[in-house]
Symmetry: C2
Subunit: 407 residues, 2 copies
Amino acid sequence: MKIIDGGVTAPKGFSAAGTEAFIKYENRPDMAMLFSKEPCIVAGTFTSNVVKAAPVIWDAKIVKETGTARAAVVNTGIANAGTGKQGMDICKAEAAEAAKALGIKKEEVLVGSTGVIGEQLNTEKLKSGIRALAGKLSDSRQAATEASIAIMTTDTVNKEAAATFEIGDKTVTVGGMSKGSGMIHPNMCTMLGYITTDLNIDRSLLQKALSEDVKDTFNMITVDGDTSTNDTLLLFANGLAGNEKITAEDENYKKFCEALHYVNETLAKKMAGDGEGATKLVEVLVTGASTKDEAKILARSVAGSNLTKAAMYGNDSNFGRILCALGYSGVDFDPDRVDISYESEGKSIRIFSGGIKADYDEAEATKILDHKEVRIIADMHMGEAKATAWGCDLTYDYVKINADYRS
Amino acid sequence: MKIIDGGVTAPKGFSAAGTEAFIKYENRPDMAMLFSKEPCIVAGTFTSNVVKAAPVIWDAKIVKETGTARAAVVNTGIANAGTGKQGMDICKAEAAEAAKALGIKKEEVLVGSTGVIGEQLNTEKLKSGIRALAGKLSDSRQAATEASIAIMTTDTVNKEAAATFEIGDKTVTVGGMSKGSGMIHPNMCTMLGYITTDLNIDRSLLQKALSEDVKDTFNMITVDGDTSTNDTLLLFANGLAGNEKITAEDENYKKFCEALHYVNETLAKKMAGDGEGATKLVEVLVTGASTKDEAKILARSVAGSNLTKAAMYGNDSNFGRILCALGYSGVDFDPDRVDISYESEGKSIRIFSGGIKADYDEAEATKILDHKEVRIIADMHMGEAKATAWGCDLTYDYVKINADYRS
């Protein structure tokens, strides 16, 4: 696998665009389009929230029933969730308009929305946005970036990643973009994410690769414990790499999974580090757990603890918060056997061991915590399983962003 | 039942005191004592956290094994959690010192600690604090208040409640105090709480009354989702009211449960409204749920949602956050049938109905939210069950308090 600079247009045959459609705000791009010149098979994972936005219902039906698509249209500003029958009608009109502009069927258009819940979208604005996007589509590097910028909401940076790998003499590429900053929590991909690849692969294997990888990537990030109504991750494969079709979990399938994992993990970490108001990415590595599932539960409990997150913001080596979050996770363990350390830029410091505070220098711990990327390591000394979760610190700005989000 | 002004000294035979023992901070009372001149039976509920503080282990053993006690000693500043064998030795020394000062056995002394995790208590400071407290014990109204002030940490107000009821010609009194502000979350009483009564009752019924009532009171409040290592709620009954002993779940038992519920609910609501940095108490009432358990899960999900809490701080009528929190609670329901309203000071406004935003005035909604006590009502239209949870808003000050709690 080779990491490359790129986004959703990196694989062959994919074009993208972003534009300003004045959906809710001015002076910011707020609509994006993704298009494949050849038909794609498509895999997807969606929010576990009982309340599902109209576009989630539309997309999930297509992924389940035909599993094929050629385009995606996304708007920000309004989520088209809690919008009843009218919201679903708008969603269909959006797909129809895109189909007309692109010369494809409306059932080949996937729709994504993110923003305020409960407000209705203006169909005319959407339609003129779609027409503008169709006219701007390009397979350039820049077009991918413009699309990734157009799907941002409270994100402070756009999020892209890409990688390639070889199957025989064919180069296969995987590219992706995502948005997500608040309403980020394990239990679905918790964001909008679009992954493209020119791989030729069986549809059920494409879905399997995505569903499996999400468990270790997008489902292991947490910003605030709130699982959104709109979470959508879509993976398009158009086969243009020209490889012999993958139909079994063979070596080539594994190569694809590796590249997909790189793209997913990179996007997931970018989302966690860009949590609303966050000043740092906090990685939580749990080792020595009895099972992988328990390792995940423990890691997510620490990454999701408001008290731990606030302490991280203050560079406060308050390991009690970490011990406490491990303790209420629901996993049983012996506190006297747990080791807790901090790590950043290759330096690490043990702060808790043998049931008591380790003999360490507070100033040194504070220095290690004072970085843009910090790792908390908890060794449970119960078994061999491990897992990583990603989160961020909790800051004044998180509150500011969310105290009056709608104005 | 009659609500009275009072605290832990309201029932006959109980005395209390608070003092400054310089445990960790200066210029604040940081130790409290509670004493009954007659032996008590005692009931308790404790943290569900796997990591249990030394005093929790000590108290839980006494409650389980003998179920009798006469005194409680509490310190703030240091939690005596994550302190290993040394922490347990300190806990025992504390009980022994109190026993000596009060002329009782050390197994009759319950111990409570709250504060920073992982630091060791200074035994000499504790001992001199205990001697001072024993000398100050009083059954006055003022002494109860002093004790309730001495157990505060980041609390901004002390928390007391009391009620009386009649059994024949005997008046029975229930009084209580509690502390708790951060690290508050359902799944145990999430705080330190001390309830006293002069009721004469069978020990197993005393425990049953407490265990049952906690489910609807202390376990229904949430500040930040972090369940502490030290949560302890103790209920002392010394029998001095002189009533015929309650040995069955009869009318008199029910009267006691009613008074206990009043005291518990009052303390629980005071704790939720005094959440770290909070500006308001947020009550979440879920009605029309299929089962009581589902109603509780839904109510707690909304009360615990960071995004809902931040919106409450901004008086922002962002019902999408509420709908979303209901949706990820884990309970299945039909979003199109849910009604959501806000209520304060007798005025209410419906903001979501029939799957879409209700036709309401934003300014009016903001006005209703701009109060010290606000209620969110969600009618699920699925059945007859209902539940109430209590929380608070999420503010800049929560982050400030917790970003550098230890300094």
